[in-house]
Symmetry: C2
């Protein structure tokens, strides 16, 4: 513990926004410094790193009720509640995590952590490399999902958590949860993997590559060192996000939300016959892309998509996923969504089969929801009911107090 | 005919490449000038235009055996045979069109025509605007599928073809065939619509918009007038093609062709931990994208994708496709492919239902082929057998001579 220091900024006076029922309320990130070098999968060494962390609920005396929530590509440690420094910023999984919600912070101590390499407070391309006094930029080492798990294991040490009640995540976060169960089998009680995969398909990699080429070939990318030129590869990031966004949604939901509706037709309902926005779906995508390019870091986007590509626990076992899972001890809950074509149910089924081959305790739900990959972030009642029921079982097994209330989408 | 002039370059001495069985042999484009103004859907007027055309087989005395083949996004009038000026250039539908092939040039007179707005010889953004003496560039008017049909109707006049035996095409070409049947009902005997749609979905438009933003936001696009700066928006075009290419292939076929195979692994089979090519699929996509950016015009890409977006014959009929098809007289063959997720079978089924509502004569085949949208260009035997059988019926009805031979994929 001597190599770790923790700083928690004070929560400012934020009484302006009322706290809704089921919310963990105002939250503030802690920044935890780890001064022991981290040897990465690439062989490179990160001499030290900071993790941005939020916690919700209380760690019990037995330290048995901790849940680690891993985030997906564009999210952060801000999982639930209202960010005290930005009162309009609700946590990305606030519908799932809170007092009385599926992941019930009345009973569980939930930790959200920003991945290293990301851009929301943990060490990454945008932070200062102490050796140069400049942002890491293009010199920040590439990371793998396993590297994140190793970095997060030290976070568990820091909290003196020997074993998590559960590690959970969706999409990239689900890959991290799975990697936790493989990398630190004795430290994961339950592993909850939602809308995720044990390895990306060629098509998945292809979409990531399109996004990366859009960013890297934007002249404002400047080889990854755009910070020092005071520019940002806005256009590349926008295109990257637009293509990503399409893959997060189902064809069905886009048809329902936008169809072929024109944005603001010319007189007589005509087209404008130009390349400005004609259709609502174009307006939406441009808005999403441009918004993203204002808050997300381009080097981070590259790094996270590459970590997605690289993830493949079966790779060191001749492609045999069941062998890669031989030593896991966790029980598993897997959830997939029928209209998710990014990580289609078959990805989850493959993982279920490999776990069953190892006689693991696996629950699997395939939810017939229209929202595509994004469904894992949304409040489908059946989906939340399954997660809630699963956590209730975890609580029972651990002898945690009974649920006091039900809030959130199941209230 | 007074306003039309035809020039056919002589076929050079090209005896170096042997002509395979079933090939139409060496071919050379004719360039036909139309000097009568064309009023476009946008209200703009194209004062004159040239169409690049290839023909195969012979027009019979009754002029009853003509088939018009419409091309998709990146193709041209060079449908079949070996381009005499580029002996390595085989027509894009050479497996379908030729003596003894499914579309049998022993019996049918086949016309391939380059759409106006394209970049392979017909008037478009790359050709000279006679009023300025400069390439049209960004000032070239936007076009619709209906505009192409009107331009091609004059081509039919030029050949004195009152009625085509068939108009056929795949993808965007299928939309043109459908539009022919709606716009000039008395001039289309049979309409063959393959891997196509009566209107793009929101997801389809979204992918087109991503491609357009990649091109337009490339600084080398220069507002569409890159020609005068001696540059090309290579990066934008490359990204546009990469994303397009993903949508042309099925997840399954990409998995089979590329999987997660590494391109040239680091020692020990390791990753390189950088953003160069790691996986075969990345190499393939970059190659396809870069190749495309060297031969295809960026303004053409914008124009063609916009024409795709705009196509929606039901739009003038309150969204009722059956009403839009009320006056068609053609018989129809529709073909879709199960793994085509760009224009999935449901697009064709919707069209079939609307045609049946009008008591049209419709044949429909849904081919269980693995190749996604690209399948319409490939030589699936069941697919070619269906097209061949359908053309044999057309020939019989028209009293054309019996098939002399069978070549191509069905030989």
């Amino acid at each position: 513990m001597t190599d770790t220091s923790v700083s928690v900024p004070p929560i400012p006076d934020t009484t302006l926004v009322p706290i809704p029922t089921g919310s963990v309320g105002y939250v503030s990130a802690a920044f935890i410094e780890f001064n022991e070098p981290l040897v990465l999968s690439s062989g490179q060494i990160l001499p030290s790193y900071t993790l941005a962390v939020e916690t919700y609920g209380s760690l019990n005396a037995e330290r048995s009720n901790a849940v680690l929530v891993c985030h997906a590509l564009n999210a952060s440690h801000h999982v639930a509640g209202i960010d005290a420094s930005q009162p309009d910023s609700i946590g990305w999984w606030d519908n799932m995590v809170g007092p009385g919600k599926a992941v019930d912070t009345d009973r569980f101590f939930v930790i959200g952590v920003n991945n290293i390499g990301s851009c929301f407070g943990s060490t990454g391309p945008v932070t200062i490399n102490p050796e140069t006094g400049q942002p890491w930029g293009a010199s920040f080492p590439l990371l793998t999902v396993e590297d994140w798990v190793h970095a997060q294991a030290r976070l568990a040490d820091c909290f003196e958590i020997a074993k998590f009640a559960a590690v959970m995540g969706g999409s990239l976060g689900g890959m991290q949860a799975l990697s936790w169960a493989i990398t630190c089998p004795e430290r994961v009680g339950d592993c909850i993997v939602i809308a995720s995969t044990a390895r990306l398909s060629a098509q998945n990699i292809a979409f990531n590559e399109v996004a990366r080429r859009a960013i890297i070939t934007d002249p404002d990318f400047r080889g990854g060192d755009y910070y020092q030129y005071g520019v940002v590869p806005t256009h590349g990031l926008t295109v990257a996000r637009m293509v990503g966004h399409i893959t997060y949604q189902s064809d069905e939901v886009m048809a329902e939300k936008f169809g072929r509706t024109q944005r603001s037709p010319a007189p007589g309902g005509n087209f404008h016959y130009n390349y400005d926005v004609e259709f609502e779906v174009e307006s939406y995508l441009r808005y999403q892309g441009e918004k993203f390019s204002r808050y997300f870091d381009a080097n981070t986007y590259l790094l996270l998509t590459r970590a997605l590509d690289y993830f493949d626990p079966a790779r060191d076992h001749g492609g045999d996923l069941a062998r890669a899972l031989r030593d896991v001890q966790a029980r598993f809950l897997l959830v997939s969504f029928t209209t998710d074509w990014r990580f289609a149910p078959e990805h989850s089924r493959e993982l279920v089969r490999a776990l069953l081959k190892n006689k693991c305790d696996v629950s699997y739900a395939e939810i017939d929801a229209p929202h595509g990959h994004d469904a894992f972030l949304l409040g489908d009642r059946r989906y939340h009911a399954i997660v809630q029921g699963y956590y209730d079982q975890i609580a029972m097994r651990l002898g945690l107090p009974a649920r006091e209330r039900t809030t959130g989408v199941l209230a």
